[in-house]
């Protein structure tokens, strides 16, 4: 199927465009004295605004712009941080319509009853969604269950259920969105040798030039990977460590801090970009779009492939409880649009994957598809979502193909049982 055909196909698939067509026909028909129901619907829906709230790495204004154009009603974006999202969802649930949350955050908000489960029959491409989310499998194999694997939180018993259901039902906790597998970022020009293990994050060679992220739930996972790789600690379940394990891990972080190992702890993704681009650090926790951002500033950053595996994470779009009637219809239209291809193509350029990869392909050139999903050498320059060059022809994406990366997810971002303890212990790390 050619790209053009595919594009046409995916457009055809969107019910919205069908309705738009119907509205146009309906408009003509008005002149003829016949008023079709879809016309009324299409006119009412124009006044609807869907608010999408999420974190900066996936809540991007270009997405809202494109969605509004394609859908005929307004989609707006509100950017916040992890803490902000969870608090807004709980305290002002009507202030947003669609929450773009991380997998582990569902464990905090689902019990609060602020979201309604997604009716799977209304998501056109549900059966095309990656089985990482829907079945807990990838490429025929079980995905790691250490940490909050997406499958574990994927389903609920009913629309209003406030707990998760073990195994598939007709109601999804959220609609799977973007996801990726993270690793360490390094400056190869300043290090000058290959980096192959998480243990390097603790290597005294990089004293004063290393950084770790200051978001406890995620930073601890990077630390656990490094602890185990360096042989300082073994874990029963890296995705749900005991108090003793958390304590030992953070004590090590403190010891390193006192020895001047950490140049900084970063709080937001742009801080990590600045640390790397300014040469303050040469090895650190990093997120994929930060790598793209540093590269587009002309600095060489490698998102290294480490032998112990990757730290997986994922997002989904949750529907807030207050949505009903026409507004709920519009929200479902938006969710279906999200999977229809444009979004997948756009987000691929910052290194993320979309839950329905095949529609994204028609919005990517062969070069881009081969580079981001296929793990092949770029045949031409690769650009960021905003058009800056990030990779030259001949370069390869770190970590290999889509299949290779997800076969190597070792742990998932999570909200562990001992989260309360983790947070007070992490505070000790901050104040040490």
């Amino acid at each position: 199927m050619s790209k053009k055909q595919a594009k046409h196909m995916s457009k055809k698939l969107s019910r919205r465009s069908v309705l738009k067509g119907a509205a146009a026909t309906g408009g003509l028909a008005v002149g003829a004295g016949v008023i079709g129901a879809p016309t009324i619907w299409a006119q009412n829906i124009k006044d609807i605004t869907i608010n999408h709230t999420g974190m900066s790495y996936s809540t991007i204004i270009e997405i809202a712009r494109q969605a509004s154009e394609d859908l005929g009603f307004k989609v707006e974006m509100s950017v916040t941080d992890h803490t902000g999202l969870i608090n807004r969802m709980t305290n002002e649930p009507t202030a947003l319509d669609v929450a773009d949350s991380e997998i582990w955050q569902t464990k905090a908000y689902v019990p609060q009853g602020v979201t309604q489960a997604v009716d799977i029959s209304r998501i056109d491409m549900w059966d095309k969604i990656t089985p990482i989310y829907t079945e807990g499998k990838f490429a025929g194999k079980e995905v790691s269950r250490e940490g909050d694997a997406p499958f574990e939180i994927m389903y609920r018993e009913s629309k209003d259920a406030t707990s998760f259901h073990d195994g598939p039902t007709d109601w999804a906790t959220f609609m799977p969105g973007v996801y990726n597998a993270d690793t360490l970022g390094i400056r190869p020009d300043l290090i000058g040798r290959p980096i192959e293990s998480w243990a390097e994050l603790f290597n005294p060679e990089f004293a004063g030039k290393a950084a770790i992220q200051n978001i406890p739930t995620i930073g601890i996972m990077d630390a656990i990977m490094a602890m185990e790789a360096a042989g300082f600690q073994t874990y029963g379940d890296r995705g749900n460590p005991t108090r003793e394990e958390i304590g030992a891990t953070i004590d090590k972080l403190i010891e390193l801090k006192r020895a001047g190992h950490w140049r900084a702890l970063w709080n937001s993704f742009d801080e990590s970009v600045n640390l790397m681009a300014a040469g303050e650090v040469v090895i650190q926790s990093m997120w994929s779009p930060a790598v793209t951002a540093v590269r587009s500033q002309g600095k060489n950053v490698e998102y290294v492939h480490l032998k112990e595996g990757l730290r997986g994470w994922g997002n989904g779009l949750a529907l807030m409880s207050h949505l009903d009637g026409l507004k709920l219809d519009a929200a479902y239209e938006y969710l279906n649009w999200y999977l229809s291809g444009w979004m997948g193509g756009f987000i691929a350029k910052q290194g993320y994957y979309i839950s329905v990869p095949e529609t994204a392909q028609s919005f990517l050139s062969d070069n881009e598809w081969g580079f981001f999903y296929g793990g092949r050498e770029a045949s031409d320059v690769i650009t960021s979502p905003t058009g800056e060059v990030t990779n030259q022809a001949g370069e390869m994406r770190d970590g290999g193909s889509y299949e290779d990366r997800f076969a190597q997810v070792a742990v998932w971002n999570n909200l562990m049982d001992e989260a309360d303890f983790l947070f007070s212990k992490w505070n000790e790390f901050n104040s040490a």
């Binding site: 905090a108 019990p111 950084a211 801090k257 702890l265 303050e280 505070n427 901050n430 040490a432």
Partner: protein, 286 residues
């Protein structure tokens, strides 16, 4: 007769209502939640328990955090007080034209035309490993390794606080200094006082209210901050409020609320202490 008695109450009512709605009521709510219990993955459980306070007061980390926050407060207070006093002194007693004095005073507010964040972030290209200062020092041969404590250290935090908060000291001191009757200074000089004696025995005592008010501003701003510390120390220093922030991230409202109440009590104690030393009423009515 009766209605006349009501008038002062009516006059005070708007402010009282605002204070009740936006200060007393939310505070009462925080107080209530602080004795609730939090169950992870479930949420708030109404209860009457002091375990949140207990866990805060028995955790050695919190004492460290208070100590570190107090250390910043004392240093910043001392620096802004000295700076604020002399800048105000210069504006009031050395600039002869009132117009120029007001003009210069406005210049002091120029940094406030941009946002807090920009004023903080703009230090980074200046002080970083490859920043302007280090590059200049290395190129001129003064040092051969970059000075790392310029950025992401206690020094940077204090520098930003001083940059951000000195104005809050200048304004009240300027205000009380501008009211000093110049003939008092003349009288002191005629009586044989030296310049320093005039400052110490006449001007400083008359500025006490301004210094006191400025101190309250600076203390409350520094004690409640977590953002400047997090950004400028590169996350290497904590603050009392950062604990509250972390707890909010997992919806542990009871512990966050208890921590806020403890912090509030301490800030109120300090502010009360300052106001005991200086009589602010004099400032407002005098």
């Amino acid at each position: 007769m009766k209605s006349r008695n009501l008038i002062p109450y009516l006059q005070a009512a708007p402010l009282a209502i605002v204070l009740f709605l936006f200060l007393a009521a939310p505070l009462a709510l925080v107080l209530v939640v602080s004795v609730f219990r939090n169950k992870l993955f479930v949420g708030l459980v109404p209860a009457f328990t002091f375990e949140n306070y207990f866990s805060i007061l028995t955790n050695a980390v919190n004492y460290q955090l208070y100590l570190s926050t107090l250390k910043f407060t004392v240093i910043v207070l001392a620096v802004t007080m000295v700076l604020g006093f002399w800048i105000a002194y210069f504006l009031v007693f050395h600039v002869r034209s009132l117009l120029i004095a007001i003009g210069l005073f406005l210049v002091c507010t120029v940094p406030f035309w941009t946002s807090n964040i920009i004023r903080m972030i703009s230090w980074k290209p200046l002080l970083g490993r490859e920043g302007l200062v280090n590059t200049a020092l290395i190129n001129s041969g003064v040092i051969d390794q970059p000075i790392l404590w310029l950025l992401f250290s206690d020094f940077t935090v204090v520098l930003s606080y001083v940059h951000l908060f000195t104005l809050f000291m200048i304004v009240p001191i300027f205000n009380s200094m501008a009211r000093i009757d110049k003939s008092l200074v003349e009288a002191a000089v005629d009586a044989g006082a030296s310049r320093w004696k005039v400052i110490w025995n006449v001007i400083v005592p008359l500025c006490k209210t301004g210094i006191g008010l400025g101190s309250v501003f600076v203390v409350t701003l520094v004690m409640s901050d977590f953002f400047v510390v997090a950004v400028m120390s590169g996350g290497l220093s904590g603050s009392v409020s950062s604990g509250v922030f972390f707890d909010l991230g997992i919806l542990n409202y009871p512990r966050a609320a208890a921590n806020s109440i403890v912090l509030l009590a301490i800030v109120v104690l300090i502010a009360a202490g300052i106001l005991r030393v200086v009589d602010v009423r004099k400032e407002l009515t005098g």
